[in-house]
């Protein structure tokens, strides 16, 4: 992609799968990009280790047909992402090639496409004034990108204080037009366009400070928002064995989450899952803006059959794009499915480099790499007082469903929310299969959130949620007792206790991701239902035997579920609510 002159050249001396050793005739830089000249095509690679003048490189494509002695050119640059208006709605591969611009049905080797549209005109409005002092990341102007105010910023790579010499007038421009000129401390004039580049492996740090998260990040998924909330700028992860509903959950998050910009990275996962997003998102509406979901979304797709090294790069490319939008003061969400595939890519390369392996043959620094990556999320305060956030949710695919395996263990140390998918719940078709007890959100301990919830959700919200959680725990204990002693071996009260917890499970925790209404529950609706359930939990009922308990609760669960399937506060909803009240009145202790 780069037009820079090459810094030095070299010849291939060894080929082992996608690791190639190159003898270079000049200085080599760690992580710099190189191109191997194969059949008149430039195949891209990255330096991952150097030994004297030998560069150990990972090749981003297949090495089939590579020969000893092939010419390799080194660029001197690290892998960089192109950042500018037009990233949204795009489908990229792990190296930010625009997949839609690629010709043909199959991905041909050496094919590269520019990630942005060069000819599209954007309506620009200036923000900065001539004479202003600015730093990297400060806003110079903005364009409207599908209704999102896309800020054109002082390039992140510029150092020191700069002075705005000129800013273009409000008008339509292409991304490569100069929209501002700046002068640096040395008096040099710098032209700024709407595109800039940034090395993906380094975080963008052009903000004043990172803040502690405090605001709820709404997902519309009841078991998350109510019981295990994630906050704006927070981190969470979803480990689960295959078939436990990770992907459905990720897609639900991508559709419903209260984010202004969503970046999805399909890292080493199934191609058909990405196709589902490609197919559905251009049709689905964003419930908050009424625009199409695709207009706020950018997808980095490096599916499992695409080259492994590019898979490793894909998570960084996606993170950099998300950080770029956060720097505009936007609420961004980054979803990565799955970080385990990324870790496996690291393992494959570490193995080829013959590094001493850590647990399960993963590299020794796996834990550090993962925590570094998660640390790029967060809520930031910009110099102009605006706040931006990058919420990150990654899935983990634990080998054999074992949550003690290295990737899960390393992730658990850094992610603040843990959404444990349970095989048992999935087997019983209780979706989403997030275990309400095993999962946790560390944000519930944040004073900032407790205060926020009092003001924005409800005065007694935390207590109400705790009551529900305790009922669930009691229900689980009682269930074990019933299993040991038998239905007749315990009192009717035990059955009532058990069925009260089942009521929470069926009516509140379970949510039909494929039902238009039930899939997405607003916070006021969650609150309304939770309070309704709490009233039921605290009511004493009269029962003669346990069969009666079961029949009664099945009846009210059925009605409450019909409420979930109805438009909130609609006639249908109120109708079921009245029916429920009648059934309850018959059973309440006088």
């Amino acid at each position: 992609m780069s037009n820079n002159l090459y810094t030095c050249t070299g010849e291939i001396t060894a080929i082992i799968a996608n690791m190639v050793v190159v003898k270079a005739n000049g200085p080599i830089r760690q992580n710099e990009i190189c191109y191997y000249l194969h059949n008149n095509k430039n195949i891209m690679g990255e330096v991952i280790r150097t030994d004297r003048n030998y560069a150990y490189t990972q090749v981003f494509e297949s090495t089939r047909g590579f020969k000893i002695g092939m010419t390799t050119n080194f660029t001197g640059n690290m892998l960089e992402a192109y950042l500018g208006p037009g990233l949204l709605t795009k489908n990229f591969d792990g190296l930010q090639n625009d997949l839609n611009k690629m010709e043909g049905v199959f991905l041909e080797r050496g094919a590269r496409t520019y990630p942005l549209d060069v000819e599209k005109r954007w309506t620009f409005k200036p923000i900065a004034q001539p004479g202003e002092q600015v730093l990297a990341g400060d806003w110079l102007g903005e364009v409207d990108e599908n209704g999102i105010p896309h800020k054109i910023m002082v390039p992140f790579k510029l150092e020191g204080t700069l002075k705005v010499v000129e800013v273009a007038q409000a008008n339509d421009y292409c991304i490569n037009d100069t929209i501002a000129t700046l002068s640096n401390e040395a008096g040099e004039i710098i032209k700024v366009t709407m595109v800039q580049t940034w090395p993906v492996r380094l975080p963008i740090k052009s903000y004043l400070e990172k803040l502690r998260p405090s605001k709820l990040f709404e997902t519309g998924i009841r078991v998350i928002d109510t019981l295990n909330p994630i906050l704006e700028g927070g981190t969470g992860f979803i480990p689960g064995p295959f078939g436990s509903g990770k992907t459905v959950l990720q897609h639900a998050l991508a559709k419903q989450a209260a984010a202004e910009v969503v970046i999805i990275v399909a890292c080493g996962e199934r191609a058909n899952e990405v196709v589902e997003i490609f197919t559905e998102f251009p049709k689905l509406d964003d419930p908050r803006t009424g625009k199409k979901l695709m207009e706020r979304t950018s997808i980095v797709a490096n599916t499992s059959n695409m080259p492994v090294a590019a898979r490793e790069a894909s998570v960084y490319t996606a993170m950099t794009i998300a950080e770029y939008y956060r720097a505009m003061g936007l609420r961004t969400l980054l979803l990565a499915d799955s970080t385990s595939r990324w870790a496996q890519a690291l393992r494959e390369m570490s193995n080829r480099l013959e590094e001493l392996p850590g647990p399960d043959a993963y590299p020794m620094d796996l834990s550090a790499i993962i925590s570094n990556y998660y640390s790029r999320a967060g809520q930031i305060l910009l110099r102009n007082g605006s706040k931006g956030s990058l919420t990150f949710i990654g899935t983990v695919s634990p080998a054999g469903g074992n949550l003690l395996e290295p990737v899960t263990a390393a992730t658990k140390k850094v992610a603040r929310c843990f959404f444990a998918l349970s095989q048992e719940r999935a087997d019983n078709k209780r979706y989403p299969a997030i275990d309400p007890i095993d999962s946790y959100s560390k944000y519930l301990e944040y004073q900032e959130y407790l205060e926020y919830s009092k003001i924005h959700i409800g005065e007694n919200w935390i207590e109400d949620v705790d009551f529900v959680r305790n009922t669930l725990i009691q229900g689980r204990e009682v269930y074990e007792q019933i299993n040991i002693l038998g239905d007749d071996g315990v009192t009717v009260d035990y059955h009532v206790m058990f069925w009260k917890s089942e009521l929470i499970d069926f009516v509140f925790l379970q949510q039909d991701a494929f039902d238009e209404i039930d899939a997405n529950t607003s916070i006021p609706r969650q609150k309304y239902m939770l309070e309704k359930i709490n009233v039921l939990l605290k009511t004493s009922f009269m029962f003669d035997n346990f069969d009666e308990v079961r029949n009664f609760f099945k009846r009210i669960i059925y009605i409450l579920k019909q409420m979930n399937y109805s438009e909130f506060q609609s006639d249908k909803f109120v109708g079921f609510e009245n029916e429920l009240q009648q059934v309850i009145n018959e059973k309440v202790k006088a």
Binding site: N272, A301, G400, Y558
Partner: protein, 439 residues
């Protein structure tokens, strides 16, 4: 082995292991094919002038002065319409006794499909088996394995599905098949379809295990030809992928790679994904569906092979003997077709999803009731009724020898709901109750 003029012949092997050999050679391309004393081999490592070859049929009897010829080509196969009705070995040579036929050579194991050019799978594949059509509906372009213990009749079920499925081509990739199983497939396909649809690539237990590594690429490249070039609907059967993975571990072991979980190579996930991801719906109508078999040892799905497979494939099917009727069924609890949401209630009747879920939930209640019974507890009235429901459900709908249309399966299930249960107990949306809960 074809010799060409001016071709360099090497005859000094510096190192021979059970599956690989190393020699000094120049101008060799990575993954290029070569012949050692007539045995097919492929370049797997080049360090300076040292080239390591993987010898597919094994290195037994090779001497250090064996003749080595490099072909200058990556693995290829003569693919064309002439293959229909034929059975080949791992190298594409006929094993059915009929003569070799020439076709245009095509590279095998080629590039992957651009994800944005894929079309979302949307066509139902019916098999007449309720465990699949009703509960785990297959969609063309899907990839799904059977997780089966070696004693289960997975090959019989596989051939039954293949014979009932409405597709244009069936490509069988047999890895480590016993000769008996090969004959079983051959004869059941001969009876079912004549020779109009079948192409087989067979590695039997009589051949070297490393040769198996070629089978899926051969089968899938052939499938790609018919699906992409001819817009056909192709069903690929791969059995047994566990033996394929075992062969991968043999090679990686010989190459001194550090094994990860269960002695499997660290790249197992990528190696398997590269194959399974060949399942695709092309924009012009052709598609490739993969039905595979992964044998388990003692039902352990946490082993690296089934575990990685499960993360790659779009669901998995388990066979189980339903004790109450002594017949094989597709386990309704553990089986899953991830793509079923794309067709159920859309290509099939709108009550399909809810009926399916309700029946499985009741079947689960029956399993709990059975546990209660075994533990000596008294059964409630509800327990007794769900047990009756479950028995009829297994016998009349789930059993693998029952052959029904999907609408019949749904009607029968409604019939059973009504016979044994109340509306509350079934718990289906009111609109469907209104429509189907009738006399």
């Amino acid at each position: 082995m074809e010799k060409k003029s001016f071709q360099k012949i090497y005859c000094k092997l510096s190192n021979i292991t059970k599956a690989t050999c190393t020699l000094k050679a120049g101008g060799v391309g990575y993954e290029e094919m070569a012949f050692i004393q007539g045995r097919a081999a492929q370049v797997v490592k080049i360090i300076g002038d040292e080239v390591t070859l993987q010898v597919f049929s094994g290195t037994e009897g090779l001497s250090t002065d064996s003749e080595v010829i490099f072909t200058g080509e990556s693995p290829s196969l003569a693919i064309g319409d002439h293959m229909t009705g034929r059975f080949f070995n791992s190298f594409g040579k006929p094993i059915d006794g009929y003569p070799i036929m020439e076709g245009t050579k095509r590279e095998v194991g080629g590039p992957s499909v651009n994800p944005v050019r894929r079309v979302q799978p949307n066509q139902l594949i019916t098999t007449g088996i309720a465990g699949i059509d009703l509960n785990n509906t297959l969609v063309s372009g899907q990839k799904i394995p059977f997780f089966a213990d070696p004693d289960q009749p997975y090959n019989q079920v596989l051939s039954m599905i293949a014979l009932r499925a409405k597709v244009d081509k069936i490509i069988l990739g047999g890895m480590g098949l016993t000769w008996d199983d090969y004959l079983f497939f051959k004869s059941s396909f001969d009876q079912g379809y004549g020779k109009s649809k079948i192409i087989g690539f067979i590695n039997t237990t009589e051949d070297s295990p490393v040769e198996r590594l070629l089978i899926p690429d051969m089968a899938l490249s052939t499938a790609e030809y018919f699906a992409y070039e001819k817009n056909e609907k192709v069903l690929v059967l791969l059995t047994d992928m566990t033996l394929y993975a075992d062969a991968l571990s043999i090679v990686s072991n010989r190459m001194d790679q550090i094994p990860s979980k269960d002695s499997m190579p660290g790249s197992l996930y990528s190696d398997l994904a590269r194959l399974y991801e060949k399942a695709v719906q092309f924009p012009d109508g052709g598609n490739i569906t993969i039905l595979a078999v992964t044998t388990l040892s003692g039902g352990d799905i946490t082993h690296a092979i089934p575990d990685n497979t499960g993360y790659i494939t779009e669901g998995q099917l388990f066979l189980r003997r339903a004790t109450e009727i002594s017949k094989v069924i597709i386990d309704p609890f553990r089986s899953l077709s991830r793509l079923k949401q794309l067709v159920i209630g859309k290509s099939t009747r709108s009550d399909h999803p809810q009926v399916m879920n309700a029946a499985i939930r009741l079947y689960a209640d029956a399993a709990n009731a059975r546990t209660k019974l075994e533990n000596g507890f008294e059964l409630s009235d509800y327990d007794k009724r769900v047990l009756k429901f479950a028995k009829d459900y297994s016998e009349r709908i789930l059993a693998i020898d029952v052959n029904l249309e999907i609408d019949q399966m749904l009607d029968q299930t409604w019939h059973l709901f009504k016979a044994y249960l109340s509306i509350d107990e079934v718990g289906i949306k009111q609109e469907f109750i209104d429509q189907y809960w009738k006399n």
